[in-house]
Symmetry: C2
DNA sequence: TATTGTTATACTCTATAACTATA
DNA sequence: TATAGTTATAGAGTATAACAATA
């Protein structure tokens, strides 16, 4: 017969109700919240045949005309090898074009097309509606607090 | 950086500095923060040959002796099919045992062993140190705020 | 009919190593 | 030597469908 686990339950933190180890970890809530968000984003983007990572890559191209693949990778923490098929698909769908840099023959500068900018605006609007649902229980002040706290966590 | 990008930068939201579409999305910061956390957790758990998901599964076994695999799956939003190899490995390493339920022959009740509880306590301690680093820029009050805001986002 | 545990499988995302061409 | 873009590949993590045993 297995021994009781009650003895090993963690002591409640001072002033807080007893809870499991997972609930006490910020990382656990970060992960659950992020996964909940990702599911919603994926769902609304599916209607535009788009996915979260390719859209974040494309957002950089739209907002920073002439950006290079290597720059995008550094800013989004993507491996250079992994952006290749992402760019290939976005290019094949006519969302951006590549231009060889005149001064450095190694680099390609990327420019969104009109069709790409239209797709981008549509996707950002879809995500906006999704976030409105996701954050429905938070006030505007709470949303801004959350954004700032999260940024403090991950930004260098 | 080419100045031509300035023309296509989105208009700043009222009262806030100019920023890209990604920075304005809570979901983007949720994802970056969660990935930063996950990298750190994975690193500290590697020293104990453990990974985040198996540990979250095992935490349920430690804290709820007699819990079933199906219950764990519902609480952690894991597919039943995917928990099978996770439990197989934890069992093979001697961290828990299975007992057939007397009243319902379909279910197996799971009980952590002493070795399992020791491993669990070690891993939770490692993660605690990791979170201390991850959240180093947040006050205790801010950490508690963050936890509550995140919970409001994902919890039903 | 529904649920538990399971097998098999496929797909996405991510990580690593190595190559080429340029600088 | 270092960087940009690329290829190939392997590993997690996750998703779906189906099955046998039991309720």
């Amino acid at each position: 017969m297995p021994e009781s686990a009650a003895k090993t339950m963690p002591k409640p933190a001072q002033g807080r109700p007893a809870e499991g180890a997972l609930e006490g970890l910020i990382g656990y809530h970060l992960r659950r919240a992020s996964l909940a968000d990702l599911a919603g984003v994926s769902a609304v983007l599916a209607g535009a045949q788009m996915r979260p990572v390719p859209l974040s890559v494309f957002t950089k191209i739209v907002e920073r005309p002439g950006i290079t693949a290597a720059e995008i990778c550094r800013e989004l923490a993507i491996q250079r090898a992994n952006i290749v098929p992402i760019l290939a698909e976005l290019e094949a769908r006519g969302f951006f074009v590549r231009e060889q840099d005149a001064k450095d023959q190694r680099v390609q500068r990327l420019y969104a097309t009109k069709a790409g900018r239209t797709m981008h605006a549509d996707c950002i609007a879809r995500i906006g509606e999704h976030e409105e649902r996701l954050l429905g229980r938070l006030t505007q002040t709470e949303r801004e607090s959350l954004r700032e706290l999260l940024e403090k966590v991950w930004r260098d």
